[in-house]
């Protein structure tokens, strides 16, 4: 057991798994944010179709549609650069957790009451524009994608490594300056 833990620690300390997770999650979120930023009104429209977000007062849902893509973009940039990476990873994880229930509720609604009248072949065959920035998606594929992104965000969050990141650079600088300050006089 200890050997496995030791191996995992060694792999993690290389910084490579964290870097790959940061690039994958950050890259994906940057793309999704960019697509949403093209047309925030489309995002707002899709949010209304979920019927899961509070719409009274309307300023609340409008503000979310305005700010959410920028928040996603900032998290993506932070992850890719490795600056405030833990905060960005935690934010991404919270967002993904928050998106899951409305996605599932809407898909269930469509599954039980298909808009075309023709029943779906199965729950996974339900497709709709999720407002995620990628247009129409199949629900199971979308959920699998979100689970993978969530896993990546958690990996960044629990990783002890700070290699290949600006966070690591600033820590090293801080440590160096501290050690110089407290170095015993020779």
């Amino acid at each position: 057991m200890n050997a496995v833990a030791g191996l995992l620690r060694r792999i993690d300390s290389s910084g490579v798994p964290q870097l790959l997770a940061r690039l994958a999650v950050g890259g994906m979120f940057a793309y999704l944010a960019y697509m949403k930023l093209q047309d925030p009104l489309e995002l707002l429209k899709q949010m209304h179709l979920y019927n899961s977000f509070p719409t009274d007062p309307p300023q609340l849902i409008n503000a979310v549609a305005v700010v959410l893509p920028w928040f996603e973009l900032l998290c993506a940039v932070a992850l890719v650069l490795g600056l405030w990476a833990r905060g960005a990873a935690a934010s991404v994880a919270v967002m993904l957790l928050g998106f899951a229930p409305p996605l599932i509720i809407r898909a269930l609604g469509l599954y039980h009451d298909p808009p075309t009248g023709a029943p779906y072949a199965g729950f996974c065959a339900v497709s709709f524009n999720c407002g995620c920035g990628t247009g129409e998606v199949f629900i199971c594929a979308k959920l699998a994608e979100n689970i993978a992104l969530f896993g990546g965000a958690i990996l960044v969050l629990v990783s002890a490594s700070s290699r290949f990141s600006l966070d690591g650079l600033s820590w090293r600088r801080h440590a160096r300056s501290t050690s110089r300050t407290h170095a015993p006089a020779v």
Binding site: H48, P58, V66, R86, G87
Partner: protein
């Protein structure tokens, strides 16, 4: 403990920067600006021109019972069924071919956005993107108020923009309920039936 606090502080920092960027960028957006104070999905109000018996005062030949459309379900927003008169594809086809459409007595209004409208719309339709009313409403309202019948459509059954636009016409612009017709099948039904299509922008009113 320190790591947790640092993580939370970073999350808050990211959120604050996103708020500033989001609101800042929104103010300089043109057509795609989200009007923060606008209620994009107002609650429906009961019709004002329905007799106590529930019978529609409008002289209409339209489908009052959506179930009569073979193989088709109720509109996704069930309120819409009671709220507005529905027209089926066949009825829309007949209305479009009616000389009154050419003479301007019947008006088709497309509630979709620019790219969709320009890619193809029902011949003679004018555009009034529900999400960009500021851009369109001033030009569209005089035309809607001056015609006998207004047929409103958007993308299709999953789309509610045509319904919301009908509500805007009747509730905020006092267009008579009796003149409004909702084509719930929308562009999807029209284009699937390989009916005539017009592309590009309409002639500006």
């Amino acid at each position: 403990m320190k790591t947790t606090l640092t993580t939370i502080a970073q999350m808050v920092g990211l959120a604050v920067i996103a708020l500033a960027l989001g609101f800042g960028a929104n103010t300089v957006r043109g057509k795609n600006q989200v009007h923060l104070g606008r209620d994009y999905k107002p609650k429906s109000v009961p019709r004002t021109d329905v007799e106590p018996s529930g019978r529609d005062t409008a002289t209409t030949t339209t489908v009052a019972d959506p179930n009569s459309q073979a193989g088709q379900k109720l509109p996704s927003n069930s309120e819409a069924a009671a709220e507005f008169q529905h027209v089926s594809l066949d009825e829309v086809r007949a209305l479009q071919a009616d000389p009154k459409t050419a003479s301007g007595s019947y008006l088709f209004v497309d509630a979709r956005k620019d790219e969709a409208f320009e890619a193809g719309h029902i011949p003679g339709a004018i555009q009034c993107d529900y999400w960009r009313l500021d851009t369109y409403l001033d030009a569209v309202l005089p035309r809607v108020l001056g015609v006998e019948k207004v047929i409103v459509y958007c993308n299709g059954k999953q789309c509610e923009d045509s319904l919301e636009l009908c509500r805007t016409f009747t509730q905020t612009a006092q267009v008579p309920w009796s003149s409004i017709y909702l084509f719930k099948g929308g562009w999807e039904e029209w284009s699937a039936a390989k009916l005539p299509v017009e592309t590009g922008r309409e002639d500006k009113p």
